[in-house]
Symmetry: C2
Subunit: 327 residues, 2 copies
């Protein structure tokens, strides 16, 4: 259902809309990692995360008469902002269902971009049920955060860019570390790399305690997280990999990485100092793995994707306070 043709079609629809992010690097990061580190900074994407790609891909592919009734999405904040901006660009309404404990900046930004925001309790309410009800009441189209081929295709455009830029840098074999929640981005990138850069291998990265994808890849079947709250990596905490994304991950990805929250905060401080990037905790897991899981990585170079930069000031100051002098 998801394939490279869908990704290339999404890339056409996104042309002139999604931002073409570069690959960044720093000799200081290379030194820590013991190999060449290339960073794909999707925190520089519109709305501060890669989520805009999938949202615009899905919304732009809807029939106009369906699209005009509006869209609905559930999200801790990055998918929310991506869907809201893509909806605004199409001149249609967006309703966003967000957990009440999402970073304040994400909630505020989503509202400021024009969405109607509905808050729910992440621990006790089923966001899918809330979304389905509102969608049916108002005739809205649900834009799923990851388990949707058009969304996977949009996220996969990131992989096309990685393949192209890695080739230009002479990198033919390398692990591509991807911050992974439900697996939409990772599966999309894996499909793109399979087609355009078969020597590059996608590998999902997660925070300790929320490593459903890493465990699923080990067991060969979909595993679930035992909890869904309590992580600073809010952007990439989901119950489990998706029914659509997991078979792709299983077929194409290398083993997953698990990093600690401390390592995420340290990676945020290094991204601040060495890349001049603002990264959110969940967006830093892949960079953390690239820097501090060197024995689990193969090759002379590693590519790490930064998935987003929508971080509250308090959390960002925490990272700089703790690790700003260890750069």
């Amino acid at each position: 259902m998801s394939d490279i043709a869908m990704i290339r079609a999404a890339a056409e629809r996104l042309r002139g809309h999604a931002r073409r992010t570069p690959l960044l690097s720093s000799p200081f990061l290379d030194e820590i990692a013991g190999r060449r580190v290339l960073v794909k900074p999707e925190c520089l994407q519109h709305t501060g995360s890669f989520k805009y790609r999938g949202a615009r891909s899905a919304i732009s592919a809807l029939d106009a008469n369906v699209r005009d009734r509006g869209v609905i999405a559930f999200s801790s904040g990055n998918h929310a902002q991506g869907v809201t901006l893509a909806a605004r660009e199409h001149g249609i309404p967006a309703v966003i269902i967000m957990p009440g404990d999402a970073p304040a900046m994400k909630i505020e930004n989503t509202r400021a971009l024009g969405a109607e925001v509905v808050l729910y309790d992440r621990a006790n309410e089923d966001r899918d049920a809330i979304g389905a009800r509102l969608a049916s009441e108002r005739g809205l189209t649900l834009i799923k955060p990851f388990d949707e081929p058009l969304v996977i295709a949009g996220q996969g455009t990131t992989g096309l860019e990685i393949a192209e830029d890695a080739r230009a840098l002479g990198i033919e074999r390398a692990d591509v570390l991807v911050c992974c929640g439900g697996g939409g981005l990772t599966s999309g990138i894996a499909l793109a790399l399979e087609a355009d850069a078969p020597g590059l291998r996608a590998r999902p990265c997660e925070p300790e305690g929320f490593d459903d994808v890493a465990r699923s890849l080990i067991s060969g079947q979909i595993e679930r997280n035992t909890k869904l709250t309590g992580s600073i990596c809010d952007a990439i905490v989901t119950p489990s990999p998706g029914e659509i994304t997991f078979p792709i991950l299983k077929r194409l990805c290398g083993p997953g990485f698990v990093v600690t929250e401390e390592e995420c905060l340290h990676a945020m401080a290094l991204a601040w100092a060495r890349l001049k990037l603002v990264v959110e905790p969940g967006g830093a897991v892949a960079l953390a793995a690239a820097l501090w899981r060197k024995d689990q990585i193969e090759g002379d170079a590693v590519i790490a994707l930064i998935s987003g930069g929508n971080v509250d000031r308090e959390m960002f100051l925490n990272a700089l306070d703790r690790f700003g002098d260890q750069i």
Copy 2:
């Protein structure tokens, strides 16, 4: 002496070395500015500032037997790092003369990249004299920070990229606001725009109290700053525009902008929140002018260059503490 042919030749020498930075934007910045704001983030350039372009341009153009003896530069930190990295890439030694009050991170990074760093007193010593003596003693080639055609040509490659990307965005007439010290970057961009985007006009931006270029453009002759210390915008404080840069600025630039240090800190906080960029105070003057000098800007869009992101933690925290809740 400096012309578009030199800039195009520098672009060829920099191809595959200098980073091609994108144009970024945020609807939140557009709203503040009252027009479309495009940001050219040279904080993402190698070594965290545009200075790498000019340094690599100059060093790569030297005769190999001259180059092999090494290079010397004086700089508050950004030119220092650019020259050091470009020298390292060519396998040659670099001696860098830096003011003792330069941000600690800049001094440390310059040393870590492999330079021999010589500190001097910005208020009481003549860095030109120190540089000339060391250069003659060791046979080093002096890489001037701005008043050198090969350096201007390298910085001007930024303007070629702005012209190309503005055209792709449909922007035909706009002011291009540039953080300006001695005028190497501004004059290079002005020359590039004259050739490739004659509807775009470069305009220098400076901090209050160090507005030698703005005053020089008004009087029509080179004016000097009355002081050279006491600014948080260390990166762009120079005594006066250069003998080579000023005639170019005078011929091609629109009037200069002067912003306050408070506005620079506020722009840094906005770049953190809205662009996910780490910007140093001197690198934020053009963004500050784009946001808060709207009556002095012409056109529906404005392009603001961020010149660098090499900021100490204390200064960065200061910006977020003061303005992180005014975003």
